[in-house]
């Protein structure tokens, strides 16, 4: 009976993802007939402009939203496991902001040198930034016994990093700064096929590694003492968790800037859908769910006030923040 629920849940998530991918490719500021989109996708498109819009703009953007959304949700799931805290996530703990800061520094520096920053370089810069923030958060988690305090300190780190980023961006002299500005607010626009290829490789490797760790994650959910008794190498496991969640969130930040709340909201929604916390189910489910969530939010960001585009974080926050509030209220009740 349980297995049927799991199958059904996976079917729903997969169907949702496919549907949203299709909708994202079909809808945009330029109206392209559905039949034409189909023809373009099958390689029979006749109109060069339409073809460019679908193949060079919409499709890579939709794929990026899906891949990065999945990566974000997974990163959030890992952080929640790490901190035993349901409202941990890369954005709220300031990890995305740390990544953003280092990427901004690298970009501004590169622009000054008139050099081009490759996708790989961006990911590495973002990864370094993530690790620095993560280091701070872990350090502080030793002194913060309550989950809400840890979150507040994470938010503060985020503010500090964002402030420095704004400062750097404001004083950098270049026309490209406009791009940098929209990126630092979070956006899936301007993604190339090359970007998609890089993020796909990084994300899927990280995903595979996380999936292989689903058994130790289950043990870790029982608390460290019991996990250790089950034969889990705790220090190694913790290092791997931190590395993988940082790689995933770094990948997102490098291409789309900081995206809020996906990392918290999606794992929570997925858990409610499955009524289970088995990592073996939740890891793939979080990925699918995150992909759908970001596709949906990006669709709204693009179309709601077209041709003006909203930053992606604005939309994800509208849907994600209430989930966080809900979790906190429910936790409070459970404790009482």
């Amino acid at each position: 009976m349980k297995n049927r629920r799991y199958c059904l849940a996976f079917l729903i998530l997969a169907a949702l993802l496919l549907m949203l991918l299709a909708v994202n490719v079909c809808i945009g500021s330029v109206g392209i007939p559905f039949a034409e989109v189909l023809r373009i996708l099958t390689g029979h498109g006749s109109d060069a402009t339409y073809k460019d819009i679908v193949m060079q703009i919409r499709l890579p953007r939709a794929l990026a939203a899906a891949i990065l959304g999945g990566a974000l949700a997974l990163s959030g799931y890992l952080l929640q496991t790490f901190f035993h805290n349901p409202i941990a996530g890369p954005y709220i703990l300031g990890i995305s902001s740390g990544a953003k800061l280092v990427v901004a520094l690298v970009m501004v520096f590169a622009l000054g040198q008139a050099a081009v920053v490759s996708s790989g370089m961006m990911i590495i810069a973002a990864f370094i930034g993530s690790m620095i923030s993560m280091g701070f958060v872990i350090l502080m988690s030793r002194y913060m016994d309550q989950m809400s305090r840890l979150i507040v300190s994470g938010v503060m780190i985020g503010y500090i990093c964002s402030a420095i980023t704004e400062f750097v961006v404001t004083f950098a002299e270049d026309a490209d700064i406009v791009n940098l500005h929209s990126w630092s607010q979070g956006s899936f626009s301007g993604i190339s096929w090359n970007n998609v290829a890089v993020m796909a490789v990084v994300t899927f490797l990280a995903f595979a590694a996380v999936f292989l760790m689903s058994k130790p994650i289950m043990a870790y959910q029982m608390g460290e003492s019991y996990a250790r008794n089950m034969g889990l190498n705790i220090p190694l496991f913790r290092v791997l968790l931190v590395l993988l969640s940082s790689i995933l969130s770094a990948c997102v930040t490098a291409f789309a800037g900081p995206v809020s709340f996906v990392g918290i909201a999606v794992p929570h929604l997925v858990k409610s859908l499955f009524k289970s916390s088995k990592p073996l189910l939740l890891i793939p489910a979080c990925f699918l769910g995150g992909a759908s969530f970001c596709l949906f939010c990006d669709l709204l960001a693009r179309t709601l006030f077209a041709p003006t585009e909203l930053s992606i974080s604005t939309v994800t926050a509208v849907f994600g923040a209430p989930v966080v509030i809900y979790i906190m209220i429910r936790r409070r009740k459970e404790r009482a």
């Binding site: 349901p86 043990a219 029982m222 003492s225 019991y226 008794n229 089950m230 034969g231 916390s277």
Partner: protein, 366 residues
């Protein structure tokens, strides 16, 4: 010689941050025995257990398990030999009790932790053994503390250990489940040769179930041995530094502090009839005297703990005239008498005399 012990510590020194808390612990047990740590709160029982389960690094000395040094065992080897029930609260989300129990199969499952038919059978059996089969589908977080504790025991059992380490396993259990819990452990040790190390607060139960007891006091294991060796008169009071109340090692009888003062009531008791009266007088704050009791009488431990004056006779000896005289004198001083025997009940000679004396003097039966 040494290898006849399944579990043994050698000069084990434990503590935190390099500061020794308890030094030179030398305890040992054979396979299938039950070893219990007792001692006051904060004595370091949990700290010792954490060293035994490798949660903490010993500051000095070694723990031997089946003749091998504990640090030499790999995490996996240890997990197939030793399982634990800790005081640490686990808060797994959205896990049924069955899921929690099944985590005990962790060392035996494959890469992704998928349970085989065999695993499912062992999980089911463990749950039956602990009588929690009906909790199978229940969300773990919605169960009571007592149920959680039993789920954690089932989890530990389905890990199929040779040695089970439990930290205050009975703390959240009511009396029925305390006995049930310890019975299961006793049965496992007797029938399956499971060795058990635990800490317990209930001294009486510790004395009944344990093959070996280790008393932690100050910075050392004060005494280590069989319950008979440990529970000598006055030792528990000393170990726990009890300043109020009393504990009787032989019977496990626990009493509050006696009311001090000139006795106001004389209780004629025996054969267990006096105990409730003594306690009721203690509750009301009335000092009393009692007698004449044989030292093997059921009333004796409570009388000994609570009476301001007690007239007693060694077991199997007749009441002498001297004791009778002292009892009468005491009764005269009190002026009030409670006789716990019905009128005309058959009594031994001395007691009969005492009851008649009270009637002759017309002391009211309060």
């Amino acid at each position: 010689m040494k290898d006849s012990y399944y579990f043994r510590t050698e000069g084990l020194t434990v503590g935190y941050n390099g500061l020794p808390l308890i030094r030179d612990i030398e305890i040992s047990m054979k396979r299938g025995e039950i070893l219990t740590l007792i001692g006051p709160n904060g004595a370091g029982k949990t700290t010792i257990l954490k060293n035994i389960i490798r949660q903490l690094e010993p500051i000095g000395g070694t723990v031997f398990l089946d003749g091998r040094k504990l640090p030499e065992l790999s995490g996996h080897e240890l997990s197939t030999q030793m399982s634990v029930v800790l005081t640490e609260r686990v808060k797994p989300e959205l896990m049924s009790c069955e899921d929690v129990v099944a985590t005990g199969r962790y060392p035996y499952t494959g890469r992704f932790g998928v349970l085989s038919e065999e695993d499912h059978r062992i999980v089911r059996e463990s749950m039956e053994l602990v009588h929690i089969s009906e909790l199978k589908e229940r969300d773990f977080s919605e169960t009571s503390d007592g149920q959680k504790q039993r789920v954690m025991l089932a989890r530990a059992l389905c890990q199929q250990p040779d040695i089970l380490v439990l930290d205050e396993p009975t703390s959240f259990l009511d009396i029925r489940y305390k006995l049930e819990f310890l019975s299961i452990i006793q049965e496992m040790s007797r029938q399956h040769g499971l060795s058990v190390i635990m800490s317990l607060h209930e001294l009486d139960l510790a004395g009944r179930i344990s093959d070996k007891l280790a008393c932690i006091r100050g910075d050392k294991v004060d005494r280590f041995g069989t319950p008979e060796e440990i529970f000598t008169e006055g030792y528990i009071q000393e170990l726990y530094q009890m300043t109020v109340g009393s504990y009787d090692e032989r019977t496990g009888n626990l009493e509050l502090t006696p009311v001090k003062g000139e006795p106001e009531v004389f209780v004629i008791a025996g054969n267990g009839r006096g105990t409730d009266v003594y306690r009721s007088l203690q509750r009301r704050g009335i000092p009393f005297a009692t007698g004449i009791l044989w030292e093997n009488d059921l009333d004796f431990p409570t009388a000994h703990a609570l009476a301001d004056e007690l007239i007693s006779v060694p077991a199997f000896r007749e009441i002498s005239a001297e004791e009778l005289g002292r009892a009468k004198e005491l009764m005269d001083r009190c002026g009030h008498v409670i006789c716990t025997f019905e009128k005309g009940a058959y009594l031994p000679e001395g007691l009969q005399e005492l009851v008649s004396y009270a009637e002759r003097k017309g002391y009211e039966n309060t």
